[in-house]
């Protein structure tokens, strides 16, 4: 591995002070499941690492405050899998957690790390985009909270200022009559980078048959970073979940996805899977609503 120094902070305040002084030249390491392989393959160099993995007391929690779910940035994917707070309408989180990496990765991979890595391979980004998640960024001087969609700027590009640490992810309450689901396909089931993954959150009107709002996010829409699919969402709003509505939504999806070929799969294949997943996820959302 290329040489680097590690700073091990006493607590979060100490970590923030360190970032205030050295933020420009420092990479933050939590459990390193993304950073270490990239360092080792010399895809990146790091002169300084700030190791926040020891700050679990302050940054590893799942709690509910006034209907908002707060996830500490060091919450692991295994924590998501096992949390009773993330059931019911948030079932897509568990769908994603059980398909994430392998047990060895889920046990250490963190929520904050997944979002900060900001590629189309980060399974939690579509999930949290569909939930209109917000991220809390802390620095010595202040804190700011911004929508995840404004935080992810592009592949491996995030809106984190040099002194900041992502400390928390917030999931605002969903409208009544909501349900959710997630799907992922790769070349095998485990430990794989998704060719396509998709997250859906559907909120129904009082009649439980008309869609009030649909939120659809994919690992790729245009370019190589997860995004929402606004035309697809708009085509579903106000509709009942009929075969016609699905066909229209699939057409909208096809019109807004701009997927290129790469060494993993062709764009045409990804599109075909995305259309199938849209139908599957809407079905599953509907049945989850019915099942309570």
């Amino acid at each position: 591995m290329p040489p680097y120094d590690i700073y091990v902070p006493e607590d979060l305040q100490d970590a923030l002070r360190y970032m205030d002084d050295n933020g420009e030249t420092t990479s933050i390491i939590a459990r390193g499941t993304d950073l270490l392989p990239r360092l080792r393959r010399r895809l990146i160099s790091a002169s300084d690492l700030l190791d926040i993995s020891g700050l679990e007391k302050e940054m590893r929690y799942i709690r509910e405050v006034d209907g908002t779910i707060q996830l500490g940035a060091l919450t692991t994917v295994s924590d998501l899998e096992g949390s009773p707070l993330l059931g019911r309408e948030l079932e897509l989180i568990r769908d994603a957690a059980v398909k994430f990496g392998a047990p060895q990765i889920r046990n250490v991979a963190t929520v904050g790390g997944n979002l900060c890595s900001a590629t189309s391979s980060e399974d939690l980004i579509p999930v949290f985009l569909a939930l209109d998640a917000k991220v809390r960024l802390s620095s010595v001087k202040k804190e700011r909270v911004l929508p995840l969609r404004d935080f992810i700027l592009g592949k491996r590009t995030i809106f984190r200022k040099s002194g900041e640490i992502l400390t928390e992810v917030e999931l605002p309450p969903l409208p009544p009559n909501s349900s959710s689901a997630y799907e992922k396909i790769g070349r095998r089931n485990s430990l794989i980078i998704a060719l396509v993954n998709m997250a859906a959150v559907i909120s129904m009107e009082e009649d439980m048959e008309t869609v009030r709002q649909a939120r659809i996010a994919l690992n790729r829409v245009a370019g190589r970073v997860p995004q929402r699919a606004p035309s697809t969402e708009a085509s579903l709003a106000g509709k009942r979940l009929t075969q016609d509505a699905l066909s229209n939504a699939q057409a909208a999806l096809a019109s807004e996805l701009s997927l290129t070929d790469d060494f993993r799969a062709s764009g045409a294949y990804r599109l075909e899977i995305a259309k199938i997943y849209l139908g599957r996820l809407l079905d599953r959302c509907a049945s989850r609503l019915g099942g309570g």
Binding site: V8, R40, R41, Q104, N189
Partner: protein, 157 residues
């Protein structure tokens, strides 16, 4: 390259070591503590052959920096040899010929032990998920799954 002084408990024994910032837990276990059951396959978290228990969590030791192990408790297969469940797993691995070249076997045993500690009667699918992070390049998964299934059914003390 920074130096770090780390104290951790490895297989029940406290160890204090000076490590470099680039040392992984895998390096320290193999090269400093001579625990050779822990294998390096890929070094990038793909193969799982370096699986150990870190504070009770099954992890890839190649993706853990030694400097991150302050105060940690680490268990490798060497530390599990007296575990009654692991003894049964070893017997069943022998019975089913669940090791061909043997390179993945220590990691398979650690992953199986972790699975059975959490789920005493796993289905075949649960077992597949439990060992999904350990790659066997002899592709001998079927006898491994059989061995774990039978080990879970066996009575242990």
């Amino acid at each position: 390259m920074s130096k770090h002084f780390v104290t951790m408990t490895v297989n029940g024994t406290e160890q204090s070591l000076h490590v470099d910032s680039a040392d992984t837990l895998l390096n320290v276990l193999r090269d400093r503590l001579n625990l050779k059951s822990v294998k390096e396959g890929c070094g990038t978290g793909d193969c799982g052959l370096c699986s150990v228990l870190l504070d009770g969590r099954l992890v890839n030791s190649c993706l853990i920096l030694a400097a991150q192990c302050r105060g940690a408790s680490v268990t490798t297969l060497e530390g599990l040899l007296e575990d009654p469940r692991v003894k049964v797993l070893q017997e069943k691995f022998l019975k089913y010929n669940a090791a061909q070249c043997g390179f993945c076997t220590p990691a398979m045993l650690v992953a199986a032990k972790d699975l059975l500690a959490k789920n005493a009667s796993p289905t075949a699918d649960d077992i597949k998920v439990g060992i999904s992070g350990v790659l066997c390049r002899c592709t001998g998964y079927y006898p491994i799954i059989q061995a774990i299934e039978e080990a879970s059914e066996a009575k242990v003390q």
